[in-house]
């Protein structure tokens, strides 16, 4: 696989498996692969689609979930945990890798944490609307997200009324979801932003049914950053739609989203130049996400950025499972089942999906993901997976033999093949030296069926490859 293709796949998938590399080649290269990925419904994905039946809490409506929790059948924590597990498994196993990557990106921008004590009954539904729009248009996604009951419950809009407006969502909509603080909006703008959003209620703690309450909508003239409305009607939904549409198409929103995209897919500190270029396409395309991504991957700065991003702990976890070829089986009800315990591994690493307590979403820069805890957490999970020590049930780990070239072979030849499977490239000199140290095997040593490498040393070789800077960056 050439370096440019590897770079693109590293950024728009959760880790290059031999199967993914093959898929890319058979589509005629990475750019064709990306185009193919932009139509996720055309990609067969039976295994990942079936995952939804592995988690019983996924089959209930918000009201049913609440009733089950009231009756003590399971807890809100279980509901949250199942969403996080399902998400991790989809990232590992879905063939719609771009959709998964972009769903994570937008979920982090329009962030509703898991867990959240008020948003949880609606959080799965929220995930579905993000997925629905993740490769579509931002303006539609913004409207769906901001008026969704999960967002309303999380940032208090579901309790905000004409008489008692609550500023929380009105403020974060401006600061985090759209134009950002550079827009220079005033405190009065924040108040009016909240007033426009009044009316979207949720029957919290009862049926959890969302409803629009015209009586709770603030009526009267509003003006925010150049958006004006007489706002005379008690049904404020058209005004809200117009306001959100205005914000989605605001040039500063384009800039902010371009910066987030560039930070996610290019480098921690993208140049103002590339941000401006991406923003222009986002803006002129009418917030078209596919068009924006195409412009991003064609950009010079993207092409020069291979390896510049540090994998977040959960990216490291998912990539580790993918490249190590760990196969999950339907959970048997044990805590040690892969489909259950994968969440505990995420916890050891220091990052569970959506588990960021603040509305600004996870940080996306190496400096936050390079702490001592993070490094030790990653190495610990690499070690567990390399040896197949944990999770222990409803899982299949590759046997040492499955990693081997035709035997006998020299140790450096074995390492080279392992490196190609895990890192999508041949072994570097530094890796060869490290592997020799870790396994106590000489580089030209002959490896046969009964060599200690196959008998008991394979875990050491695997975790050495997983512990490399190459695997922990993308």
């Amino acid at each position: 696989m050439d370096a440019a293709a590897r770079h693109l796949l590293n950024r728009f998938s959760y880790g290059i498996t031999p199967a993914l590399a093959h898929e890319c080649t058979s589509h005629g290269g990475s750019h064709h692969w990306l185009e193919h990925q932009m139509r996720p419904h055309k990609i067969r994905d039976e295994f990942a689609n079936g995952l939804t039946h592995w988690y019983k809490t996924r089959s209930y409506s918000p009201h049913e979930l609440w009733q089950h929790v009231q009756h003590g059948n399971f807890t809100g924590w279980d509901v949250n945990a199942d969403l996080a597990r399902w998400t991790l498994l989809r990232r590992i196993y879905s063939r719609r890798q771009l959709l998964e990557v972009m769903t994570e990106f937008w979920s982090n921008l329009l962030h509703v944490p898991v867990p959240d004590e008020k948003a949880w009954p609606h959080r799965r539904g929220y995930d579905l609307i993000i997925r629905h729009h993740a490769l579509g248009r931002f303006d539609k996604m913004l409207h769906a997200a901001i008026t969704h009951p999960a967002m309303g419950c999380y940032l208090d809009n579901a309790e905000s009324t004409r008489v008692n407006p609550n500023e929380n969502l009105g403020r974060e909509l401006l600061e985090l979801h759209t134009v950002g603080r550079l827009a220079g909006y005033s405190e009065a703008d924040v108040k009016q932003s909240a007033q426009i959003l009044t009316g979207y209620r949720v029957d919290m703690w009862h049926t959890w049914k969302p409803y629009y309450s015209p009586a709770d909508h603030h009526v009267g003239k509003v003006g925010i950053l150049g958006f004006h409305s007489a706002n005379r009607k008690h049904d404020g939904r058209p005004v809200t739609a117009a306001y959100l549409n205005y914000l989605a198409h605001h040039p500063l929103t384009a800039r902010r989203i371009a910066l987030r995209l560039a930070t996610r897919f290019i480098s921690d500190e993208p140049s103002p130049h590339v941000v401006a270029d991406i923003a222009k396409v986002f803006h002129h395309s009418g917030t078209d996400i596919k068009a924006t991504l195409r412009a991003l991957v064609k950009h010079r700065e993207f092409k020069r950025s291979a390896g510049a991003k540090t994998r977040t702990p959960s990216e490291d976890l998912v990539a580790t499972m993918r490249v190590a070829g760990v196969r999950a089986k339907k959970p048997s009800g044990k805590d040690s089942d892969f489909a259950t315990a994968v969440l505990y591994q995420a916890e050891v690493m220091g990052q569970k999906p959506f588990n960021w307590p603040r509305p600004d979403g996870f940080p996306d820069a190496a400096q936050t993901w390079s702490s001592v805890s993070r490094v030790l957490g990653s190495w610990s999970v690499h070690h567990n997976i390399a040896g197949g020590w944990y999770p222990t049930t409803a899982v299949h780990y590759r046997t040492p033999k499955e990693w081997m070239p035709r035997l006998p072979a020299r140790f450096d030849e074995v390492l080279d093949l392992v490196s190609r499977q895990i890192l999508a490239r041949p072994a570097s000199d530094s890796l060869l030296q490290a592997a020799c140290i870790a396994t106590e095997i000489k580089r030209h040593e002959r490896i046969t069926q009964d060599h200690p490498l196959l008998v008991w040393k394979m875990p050491r070789l695997l975790h050495t490859v997983l512990d490399t800077p190459t695997h922990m960056t993308r």
């Binding site: 208090d156 309790e159 905000s160 009324t161 008489v163 008692n164 407006p165 609550n166 500023e167 929380n168 403020r171 600061e175 985090l176 603080r181 405190e187 924040v190 540090t310 220091g350 307590p357 603040r358 509305p359 600004d360 940080p363 190496a366 400096q367 936050t368 993901w369 390079s370 702490s371 001592v372 805890s373 993070r374 490094v375 030790l376 957490g377 190495w379 610990s380 690499h382 070690h383 530094s430 890796l431 030296q433 490290a434 592997a435 140290i437 870790a438 396994t439 106590e440 875990p459 050491r460 975790h463 050495t464 512990d467 490399t468 800077p469 922990m472 960056t473």
Partner: protein, 429 residues
Amino acid sequence: MADQVLQGGQGCPECQAASGLERRRFLGLAVAAGVTTWAGVTGTVFREVALAAGGSADNVLIVVSLRGGADGLSLIVPHGDPGYLQARPRIAIPANRLVASNAMFGLHPKMAPLAPMWNQGTFGAVHAVGLPHPNRSHFSAMEEIEDADPGSSERRGWLNRMIGLDHDRRPQQAVQMGASLVPTSLYGPQPVLATTRLKDLQMPGPSDPEGHRRTVRARHQLWDDKHGALGRGARSAMKVVDSLARLAGSTAPPHNGAKYPDGDFGRSLAQTATMLRADVGAEVVTIDYGNWDMHVGLGTMEWGAMLNTVDEFAHGMAAFFKDLGGLASKVTVVTLSEFGRRVEENGDYGLDHGYGNVMLMFGAGVAGGKVHGSWPGLSAGKLIDGDLAVTHDYRSVLSEVLKARFPALNLSRVFPNFKPEHIGSMKSS
């Protein structure tokens, strides 16, 4: 001792209004004797402890970040200001429920476990502090407070600058306890340690000693020459694991019968106490506590988020100082929050984002038992967009703490281009 505290108040002309009230209370309760006793006893015990451990006697600064924007008016309640009750008809705390109150201020009732420290003068507060200009965005206000170097584009927090002024390069000199993310205040070129649990500070790998040694050597081979944040993190990890190995396995219970509340905050404090006892060279510890972003359901004296959040805070802090015992004489705790909250309550028994706030200070060197600062008042004309005004920059408070506890530091390099004002929040030794 009493004179020193009073002089602190007198040294600042604009503090007169507030400190006049304080003075009466202070002399009336005669807590000065308590302060002397505490300092005297702990000083001796500490010297013994330090000698026995063969460790250094460096002072320790602990910064507790009350994330989400804590309502300072609920923590240190200005019940003597008529504006308080007017603005909060439903969520105001009745004056007769307050703890350690004087004519103007009183502590939240759930601060009761900390009342002894207040009365002994090892717990104090500075009110109406904050950023020089209002910033009601959580994220940008946190950045601004923790970067503490406005105008500079260098991404480096004030605590990272602080630990960079000596020759100590060990990551454990500054520790974020209880979270694996490095906060803005610690971020920068000086290596630091961020950890969820001390027991995680073990080198993962094979359990047989030879395999383990080889794994470590292999990791050195892979990482020793790697640039960038992750390379630094990996090298710090290997270094820290070496020097803190004995801590990782420790499961010793808290000392002196201290009982921490359940939850992350209590756990982080307990681990901090364990770490300080082991004297591994930690000089700065940062701990994040709570979700103070109470737009909805801050609540009343019967229910709500504030009751529980303050309760956990007070029990945690009291347990921490009990656990520290003699070591308390080298430990100073200060709280920070990105902003205070709106003076007027909203319709959901909550408070929206505000401006001026309170800073709480505990432990060594604190001129406690009183509320320092200059109270701007809560009448309509005194508020900034409906929020408590700021009469002292928060960096003035931090400067006083650093000056008292780390006198060798060059403060102008910790807070560049900043001239601290005198507040009197620390004892002038």
